[in-house]
């Protein structure tokens, strides 16, 4: 831990900010404090922490390893689905047991199971519990699936893609295809996950009806903040040290790393699977706060947003990803929530609900062109970590030779 603090100077700062922020929110919450923050806003903050968490995963895979995956929201969504199945099943089971308790004869297990299936799958016109719900009755089994299902998908997909040395834009397209295929599959009613209805009512924890949402929301906020912190520590551990050197080497010059004897494909696969699992855990925390998950959540655009957050925040630095995800998603909530005042231009009134996307698109283009270090680059102005000035004519014949101005310094 002490080495981590040394190799990752941002870690203590991040830790302090997160703790202060969490305490602040708790004090301002309805459940444990003065009630200045609404329950829905606390849910927004908790969800934002989950998004920051998955942004760190994206930064690991893209900013550090150079794999522009545009499919990580598939893993996020799958994590949400896995935990959602248990939440929905367990709660429906309680409701069913409650209603059957009034019957003259005690219900058989078969009757209970049929009643649960009818409750959950009535909307898609089915009455049987599909195979994929086999473990839905067990919290621990579904928690294991949160890790296993996205982890295995990433393992198989990554193994196939990296082994054939698919890189760059081709890999990005493949990952988009993966998330699109998954979302189209889940849109079908017979996929066993309620088609386009998705899973709903996830904010109601089974057996916790007596606990007000105000309290539940702050619990989830704490859990999300803790998960974010742990992700930050894990990511800092991965990118510091020789492993971090190797993956940044892969990003900058994959062939060179190969000639050093490192199995590049193995490293890529490790990072891909690790980040998929992190994203899945983020999803498992996010969707109980959102209350509903449907296949639209893992549409290709979602994963592109993820890349936009990381680019705006500044890739290749962990706090950059966190800043990007928080700033962009909170602004997005504000603008699309109808709270932002309209901007009258005289001839035309800019309604932010419609124009926010355009603004986000523009800022993405501007950041890419003029500030490739993103918002995180502002930190360099304070910490004086400036890139060498490489302008001016080269003094030597090859690229990378000392430049005039550099030599004068």
């Amino acid at each position: 831990m002490r080495t981590l603090f040394r190799t990752t100077p941002s870690l203590p700062v991040f830790l302090a900010v997160l703790v202060v922020f969490t305490l602040g929110v708790t004090v301002l919450s309805e459940a444990y404090g003065i009630g200045a923050l609404s329950t829905s806003f606390i849910k927004t903050l908790g969800k934002t922490a989950c998004l920051a968490l998955v942004a760190i995963a994206m930064d690991l895979v893209w900013g550090y390893t150079g794999i522009l995956s545009l499919g990580h929201f598939a893993f996020f969504g799958l994590g949400g689905y896995m935990i959602g199945m248990w939440l929905m099943y367990a709660r429906t089971e309680l409701i069913v047991l409650d209603s059957l308790a009034a019957a003259p004869l005690p219900p058989t297990p078969g009757e209970i199971s049929d009643a649960i299936a009818g409750q959950i799958f009535g909307v898609v016109g089915a009455a049987d519990l599909p195979m994929v719900w086999m473990f839905a009755h067990s919290f621990w089994a579904q928690m294991a699936l949160v890790v296993l299902v996205p982890g295995l998908l990433a393992l198989v997909f990554g193994w196939l893609a990296f082994r054939s040395r698919v890189t760059g834009v081709y890999l990005s397209i493949l990952t988009q295809a993966m998330t699109l295929a998954l979302s189209l599959y889940l849109f079908q009613n017979d996929s066993g996950l309620r088609g386009n209805n998705g899973l709903s009512g996830l904010q109601n924890l089974p057996g916790a009806d007596a606990i007000p949402q105000a309290t539940v929301s702050i619990w989830f906020f704490w859990a999300s903040a803790l998960a974010l912190l742990l992700t930050y520590v894990v990511a800092a551990f991965v990118v510091s040290g020789t492993f971090g050197s190797v993956i940044r080497g892969i990003r900058d010059d994959e062939a060179r790393v190969r000639f050093l004897g490192y199995p590049v494909e193995g490293f890529k696969l490790f990072v891909f699977v690790l980040t998929a699992v992190i994203a899945a855990l983020g999803g498992a925390l996010y969707y109980p706060q959102a209350g509903i998950i449907n296949p639209a959540e893992i549409a290709p655009i979602a994963s592109i947003y993820l890349a936009v957050w990381v680019a705006i925040g500044g890739r290749g630095r962990l706090y950059g990803a966190v800043i990007g995800a928080c700033v962009v998603s909170l602004l997005s909530t504000w603008f699309t929530g109808g709270q932002a005042p309209d901007l009258p231009l005289g001839f035309y009134t800019v309604k932010w609900v419609d124009w926010w996307q355009v603004g986000l698109g523009f800022s993405f283009v501007l950041v890419t062109l003029f500030a490739p270090k993103g918002l995180g680059g502002l930190v360099d102005l304070v910490s004086h970590r400036l890139s060498p000035n490489r302008h001016g004519a080269a003094l030597g014949p090859d690229t990378g030779a000392l430049r005039e101005k550099e030599a004068e310094q």
């Binding site: 020789t242 060179r256 190969r258 000639f259 050093l260 030597g396």
Partner: protein, 247 residues
């Protein structure tokens, strides 16, 4: 040849009908310095690509080490782990990382992802990296980013990374390109020193530099070996004069 470290036997490779390598044979002993010269397109770089696994030959064999293991079909990383290090024409160091990190990454050590993740440099690893930095004349720059180094310093850093890998065979592509006279002398010294304990193959255009290396020379032409021997011997060879030096 008996006791050869690397034996390349009658390899050929064709790119879109162009025979880049034509039944080329080559061998080098365990502690030998060798220079390869030849005009552009003679197949020097393709030869290195084949030995390091980047290009697969159409026919022929590449035999390696005491047990004469065939390297064809092995991937680049496995060949590198078997003990062949390569330096490219253009200095390719990891510019975003420090000299120390570059050398540490190259240091002969575990290469498996999980083992690398939990690896912490031991005291002797750090000492070895510092020694190497001294050897290549970058002791003072060890905490600087490689991107801030001059062109010549980057070349040395890359040679240092090769030495850190501790390969049995070093393949070096045009190490002196773009260097000042003083830098060339230092580079030649480094290579001669390295060749005392391992095999070193240097591809070079610059005759003056080859003379400084003072070693056996192999002349490539149109994908095969034209002549072999001391520099004076090959420069007197009429064929060599015709295709290369006479122009």
């Amino acid at each position: 040849m008996n006791g050869a470290l690397l034996e390349v036997a009658a390899i050929s490779v064709t790119f879109d009908g162009f025979k880049a390598i034509n039944r080329l044979s080559f061998s080098i002993g365990p502690a030998e310095l060798r220079a390869i010269i030849g005009p552009n397109g003679a197949g020097k770089t393709t030869f290195m690509d084949i030995v390091t696994g980047k290009t697969k030959p159409d026919e022929g064999q590449v035999l390696w080490g005491e047990v004469s293991r065939n390297l064809i079909g092995m991937n680049e990383a496995r060949i590198a782990r078997a003990g062949i290090g390569r330096k490219f024409q253009r200095p390719t160091v990891f510019e975003d990382q420090t000299v120390f990190a570059n050398l540490l990454m190259a240091l002969k050590n575990t290469r498996a992802p999980l083992a690398v993740l939990f690896y912490t440099p031991k005291r002797r690893d750090v000492a070895r990296v510092e020694d190497l930095a001294g050897e290549i004349g970058l002791a003072e720059q060890i905490r600087r980013k490689a991107g801030e180094l001059s062109h010549g310093q980057k070349q040395w850093l890359e040679i240092g990374m090769l030495l850190a890998q501790d390969p049995k065979l070093l393949l070096v592509d045009e190490p002196a390109a773009g260097m000042t006279l003083g830098e060339r002398e230092h580079t030649a010294d480094l290579l001669r020193e390295a060749a005392k304990t391992r095999a070193v193959v240097v591809v070079e255009h610059d005759m003056e530099f080859v003379r400084r290396l003072d070693c056996k020379v192999t002349v490539f032409h149109e994908g095969s070996v034209l002549a072999e021997g001391s520099l004076d011997h090959v420069t007197r060879n009429q064929d060599v004069i015709d295709v290369y030096l006479g122009r």
